[in-house]
Symmetry: D2
Subunit: 139 residues, 4 copies
């Protein structure tokens, strides 16, 4: 099963449905059932001390799985997150972009499950792990 959308097509679609996505995220790579997404860290993502906030990491994981699902099924704004689990394992490097590596483990008729590892760019040990379930509306 190959991706149905290229990175530019996906970003164009996301900008029409979630305009804020463009400022925060960049697709580094799309492949069969996987995407790599960069979070362009700015002041609004930081906690005092310069570390990236939990809600920003949640947003990155959520967006990465959404992008991976859309890349495979084509532009459908209505997929929604139904479940998330995250482990926050290390403090992100200060003022450094985050990179999310997402694999879809399941792409069913009604549910998709994606797994995400989040890294501070240039650091080998992951800062967080996430799993997200998306509910896909009937077509």
């Amino acid at each position: 099963m190959a991706a149905k959308m290229t990175a530019p097509e996906l970003m164009d679609f996301l900008e029409t449905v979630f305009p804020q996505v463009k400022d925060d995220f960049e697709i580094e790579e799309i492949d069969d059932m996987q995407v790599r997404v960069r979070m362009k860290i700015a002041e609004r993502h930081l906690r005092p001390g310069g570390t990236v906030s939990g809600p920003s990491m949640f947003a990155l994981a959520d967006c990465a799985v959404y992008m991976a699902v859309l890349a495979m099924i084509g532009p459908q704004a209505l997929a929604v997150t139904t479940n998330c689990s995250m482990d926050f394992m290390r403090k992100p490097a200060a003022e450094t972009d985050l990179i999310a590596d997402c694999r879809l483990l399941k792409l069913g008729r009604v549910l998709a499950v994606g797994d995400v590892l989040i890294y501070s760019e240039g650091v080998a040990a992951p800062v967080a792990r996430a799993s997200m379930t998306y509910s896909i509306p009937p077509r």
Copy 2:
């Protein structure tokens, strides 16, 4: 075991360590091992269509558990989230404040676990459920 901080004391402390908290959250009630927190919904919390975003709900759940922990152990900025699981069950009402009801289920020497139900104000069925684990630094 009774709360060690009142709502105003807790808000004062949070404003010094997380200045953005004041704009987003209000403590409705503090009790033994539980807090009720209001998220004052503004444009920045919304998705197109007026519904509250996932990262905003994560931020509310995370903050509610943090507040419940601090209320019990006193002002300690260094407690960090290590794990989170959330179920997103219903679409929040458009442009309506969210209310988080948080209970601490465990307050150990090194780990605290809190359970959160999130409601759109005035609506009986919860929009989301969250569990958060905080790691508490040695005193």
Copy 3:
């Protein structure tokens, strides 16, 4: 919305589809969107030292949510667990029955979400917390 099955009806149904259930579980109470289930602790549920094993607590949480769903929708063997999150907070009391208090937080057309607190009988602080999502097959 009221329960469609009584405790004896539900146990009878479960025995035909999961014969082992009868040895392990007893329904203490069924109500609108909630059940209380007893796990009759026996040798096979224990770890060395007499404490209840993790898989046994998982089985109890899973079964409690399944029972709560069936009580509401009627006998349907095909609902399946799609997601689970658990926090193990305290060591269960040795050789003591466990009691699971389960509330359904959502009972949708395709997904049901239940929340469970597990106690050692007679002990106030919960030993574990669980959330389970069930996928309900189209009728």
Copy 4:
């Protein structure tokens, strides 16, 4: 960081602390921060229809992370599971051994986090995904 225990050493240790492990599990491979574990499926792991039960898959994931932690830190019976999240994505193949691939994502002073993918032997798509947190007692 290299593993401190070989597969036979680890199995010998586990048999003294959890005698039932020997009947259910076999270590296929131990490496730096990762293990592969086989669950030898028997009647007691099955649901009617021949598919492996949820509690059995939980037991496999839990045991795989425990083994991965012990392999790295040496024989310490007292590490305990504090959190688990699982996604059940596909029905396991009937009466087929399960293989768990576990990676430790974090091995800290007090907490370890492991990620597990579970497969029916010989089938490419995973049946389940799990993350487990272990609390490691002070040495």
